[in-house]
Subunit: 171 residues, 2 copies
């Protein structure tokens, strides 16, 4: 059933992804590529969330778009190539998926933000705090040899800022 | 407040993910790069979650590692270059961050999986269903001109499989 199966090395599954850029193969029959293209965070106050990421962290966005549609108001941020962050009200997610609105729940996921040094962890944590983040766990050495801290955005989503000495981040 | 307002069609809002390689710069002082490197999903049953993503969706992993450490057991999957998925018990996230364990809450986020055609949406939804996903919303036309469906993984995390005709995914 699977033209590309679990026995292929990952490097072959991703064959064609190269220096020219993001060129993940399109799903073919029966195959779900390991790929996340948009991470949408549920928010309670869209304008406050945009202020945090845009004005607080300094991330670029065209602001809130789609307000002409019911449940359409959303803000997008480009993360690394091939991945976007969206902020969308929890009630809009619920409406679109046909699910009840759930409570904020910080242990649903963590958003890992790897950086290249201990100093960069400290800098990012300080910037987040100035932006109004709740510092959940100040940066400290981890048991596995890294250095990391946690903060929550205005909607309680949990970011972990991490320096991992074993992880090459590229140029 | 919003430099670009409601006049852009949603399909254009979703277009334009770059075609350059992954070369996000390292954070420098006071700057937080817009970057997500690891998305960690909180799970209740790590082995069941690994079975879903590895055996069900066919995503490659070295399986559960770190079991020698208390709260260390985790499984990693490579997504597109520069991004990893981790599965980690909710109770381990809570322990590591020093927060109480929260309830499963599907509206905390959606995980967008863009594909290149309507057929690829149908294929991915079918594969997810065979893997044991709960089909929350069968794939259907969207108001903005695309085609999308939602499913939940065994821990209730909400994936949206999307075809957006305005979004070039590459070859």
């Amino acid at each position: 059933m699977d033209p590309v199966g679990a026995d292929l090395p990952q490097s072959q599954v991703w064959a064609g992804v190269g220096a020219v850029g993001y060129a993940a193969p399109i799903s073919t029959e029966g195959v779900v590529q390991p790929r996340l293209t948009v991470l949408t965070l549920g928010v309670d106050d869209l304008r406050a969330a945009v202020r945090f990421y845009r004005d607080g962290l300094g991330w670029r966005t065209d602001g809130i778009v789609g307000e002409e549609f019911e449940h359409g108001a959303v803000a997008f941020f480009d993360l690394q190539p091939g991945l976007r962050l969206a902020l969308w009200p929890r009630r809009s997610i619920a409406h679109d998926a046909g699910l009840p609105v759930g409570p904020a729940s910080a242990t649903e996921m963590t958003l890992g933000h790897n950086v290249g040094s201990r100093e960069a962890v400290d800098d990012a944590m300080a910037r987040a705090e100035r932006a109004g983040a709740r510092i959940v766990k100040p940066a400290a050495d981890t048991f596995w040899g890294g250095y990391a801290g946690y903060f929550q955005d205005p909607d309680g989503h949990l970011w972990e800022v991490v320096w991992n000495p074993a992880w090459e981040l590229g140029p």
